[in-house]
């Protein structure tokens, strides 16, 4: 059967490793929604934080190479990871009108630049291309009664003129998308605060403090769970949660979902395919309590 929409797909490294459940649930959700995803063959790492911290040319070239590889694949480029999305958009932005940098990258790739393919985050695809009404119509198992704290982190909307996904400082796109499942979204203070990101390796103390504040804020707002769109945020809030509880003396037991896990669940994808068992803070208790399993 023909798909409603078709995209090329750039999963990025995390989705093939620590964030496998993000990849699985994305595939499951899009299949259920009849949106085609065709993985870019032979894609490379986007360079992530290390590359652009050390060598801008390397960072831009890796992203330009990925866009070149994506060019022959049909459809706009769908990206799930907030960091990959940010890097690809940044490369497009920086190379758009900087002749000198364009020349450098062309020299590095030994090929003409092919940057034109629109890079779209899953949120944008669901909210704008697919449409919220159609999304709501495709939901088979409403998440009624589930209170979700949508967590954007730093990169989805910032810097303001690069991703252009939504308003940089007061976005609502996550709330609108998950709202289509019938879930309740809470209004909370730390939606856009940094989780500590890469400091998780070099200075975990920073992450423990910042992520603790995010968890505390979500709990204050009465959320049952947090929803993210970034593997690194997920790592800090989920994998580090036990350690955060230990150092802060607070008890959260706050499941941290990838957005696609919740959406796919509501779209009727079998929960066994959504990687709930690979989450450090098990959501099973919560989902059973809300009669969603």
């Amino acid at each position: 059967m023909k798909n409603i929409l078709d995209y090329s797909y750039y999963p990025g490294c995390s989705l093939h490793a620590s964030a496998k459940e993000y990849d699985e649930s994305t595939q499951g959700l899009f299949k259920a929604l009849k949106i085609g995803l065709k993985e870019v063959p032979d894609w490379l790492c986007c360079g992530a934080t290390p590359a652009h911290n050390v060598d801008e040319l390397l960072s831009l070239s890796l992203c330009a190479k990925n866009l070149e590889l994506a060019k022959p694949v049909e459809g706009d480029l769908a990206v799930a990871c907030a960091a990959c999305f940010s890097r690809l958009k940044t490369a497009q932005h920086k190379l758009a009108d900087n002749e000198e940098k364009r020349k450098q990258v062309e020299y590095a790739l030994d090929a003409p630049l092919a940057l034109d393919k629109p890079v779209k985050h899953l949120l944008e695809i669901l909210a704008k291309d697919f449409g919220l009404e159609r999304l709501a119509g495709a939901m088979k198992k409403p998440l009624a009664g589930l209170k979700v704290a949508c967590y954007y982190g730093c990169l989805l909307t910032r810097p303001a003129d690069v991703p252009e996904l939504d308003c940089a400082e007061a976005p609502t796109i996550m709330e609108r998308v998950i709202g289509a499942t019938g879930a309740e979204t809470v209004s909370w203070s730390h939606r856009l605060e940094c989780c500590g990101a890469n400091f998780t390796l070099s200075r975990p103390g920073v992450v423990l403090q910042l992520s603790n504040e995010i968890l505390a804020s979500a709990r204050r707002a009465g959320a049952d769970c947090i929803m993210v769109a970034c593997p690194l945020c997920h790592g800090n809030l989920d994998i580090r949660q036990a350690e955060i509880e230990e150092t802060s003396g607070e008890k959260y037991n706050m499941p941290v979902f990838y957005m696609t896990q919740l959406l796919a669940l509501a779209a009727g994808v079998s929960s066994s395919k959504l990687g709930f068992d690979s989450m450090m803070v098990s959501p099973l208790g919560l989902l059973k309590e809300k009669q969603l399993l």
Binding site: C167, A168, E169, A170, S189, H190, E193, S217, R220
Partner: protein, 665 residues
Amino acid sequence: MSRIGVFICHCGENISRTVDVERVAQAAEKISGVAYACDYKYMCSDPGQNLLKKAVTDHNLDGIVVAACSPRMHEKTFRKAAQSAGLNPYLVEMANIREHCSWVHEDKEEATAKATEIVTMLIERVKMNKKLQPITVPVTKRALVIGGGIAGIQAALDIADCGHHVVLVEREPSIGGHMAQLSETFPTLDCSQCIMTPKMVDVANHPNITLHTYSEIENVDGYIGNFQVTIKKKARSVDMDKCTGCGVCMAKCPQKKIPNTFDKNLGMRPAIYVPFPQAVPNTPVIDRENCTYFKTGKCGVCQKVCGPGAVDYTQGDQLVVEPVGAIVVATGFELYNITEKPKGSAIKGYGEFGHGKIPDVIDGMTFERLASASGPTGGKILRPSDGKEPQQVVFVQCVGSRAREKGISYCSKICCMYTAKHTMLYHHKVHDGQAYVFFMDARTPGKGYDEFWRRSIEEENAVYIRGAVSRLYQKGDKIVVMGSDISLGIQVEIEADMVVLATAVQPRTGAELLAQKLGISYDKYNFYSEAHAKLRPVECATAGVYLAGACQGPKDIPDTVSQASAAAAKVMTLFAKDELEREPIVAKVFEKNCVACFACKKVCPYGAVEEKEIRDRQGNLLKVVAWVNPGVCGGCGTCQATCPSKSVELDGYTDEQIMAQIEAL
């Protein structure tokens, strides 16, 4: 054969440093038609001017080129000097070899060659200059003042006290403006209402002032000395002659739940209302958008209870035409709003401060209303969300101002001082409360200002933290203020009960629309532009229009009052004469050639071009042509450049003269 005198100025060393002035004079002397050339150290000085005057008589000159600074600087000086020697002043031209040459070049050889060419061009032009006579226009000795805040009130009173009639137009139902909203004023902490309301009453009682409140400027026609202003008096729904101001209608109005904008929406008002008890005039208006009668056709309580029968639902908007000779614009300011701005707006909101959705994050004017004895809390500092007395208040300066990334780069000038005042008022009312102020630097130039600011720290216990605030968020019933202390190099977090933002001063919404009606210029922020930043600070480039107060740029009360009085003085200078002399450098139409396409009319920035009918003796229409009103023409020459049939020319800048200048190169 012309007999032209050429005078080269050294301007101290400003010109002679890079231009060999003697060589320029020698070169000029050799040009045909030049009878005399010399150079002098300061041509604009008394001996310099005498040199020019003497040369006019000694050499029987019939044209003069002064090679010196910009004509904007000294053209008038030299024209006057020539006139006193008996020469028509419009036969004098300036060759700008300072701004256009010596100041922008370094190589003396090249600069000297360029200066010589500039002088040569002007010599060729002066040869064709005509003797012109100044234009005189009559002056209507009545003034219009737009805006009834402290600036407009001061200007109106000054002009009226001088014996001239003033028409004062105010958009709101009462005069008073922002000053009527303030609690106490820096640097003396006297009560704003106590010094403001007597002036408002003076305006109402002044025999020379006609007051139009709840009114707006609809249209402005005419020119200096002769404006025709159409004023729209919005329907008040209350007859001002019959109303006694007893207030029964307001007390009986069943609709009482309308946010009171005068109190920054902290209190409520009825649908028939005066903005505040001391309003002038003390005549209510019906807010038709919120009135039950106007919405549903039912109610009519105010009309039933009004003893004198003043309530009139059938009243419509009224247009009044007032002839005036001068206009003072005093439309004031409004405060930056941190809420989300429409897409594409150059001004951005403050998402990181919650876009204005945290109830206890207020702006400076809201704090004024809280602190005001006549405010919604009777002068008690109580926070809007739950009416509790805040124990920790954080003041944040420079919100919107000096923030290029937010779209505004200028300093709002008044916030350092009023924030210092706020910390004092807070300390006076909440003795054990603590005020914190985040600031970039304290800008307190003004008499007694720095002492005032020091007092807030040394005697009134305010804690000043040098640094910016990055984020505000609600945590329980507290507001967490995340900021930096750059003196200590640390990050700070304060859990505050209330946050007061010193938001930027901006021109009134729609300020640009009024400017377009008046034909005055404005900057990229829509502040009105003065004719000269230093030497003509209260005049617009458009003759007959003057500026007062914050519509020209952020200003505190003392500065506003000074500027308003200065604007009034300028109006009185204009009114001191019965007729007004204007520069005769205006455009003239050759009616024979004009094809009546009116391209000139479309491009004229002054609205000076009119359509003129030419008729024969029997009154038959022969032809329609363009006509330039010399009283309005600003002499810009746009029409001349536009005219496809070369039928309009500016005296002193004819095509022939411009071509002669080019050919001299």
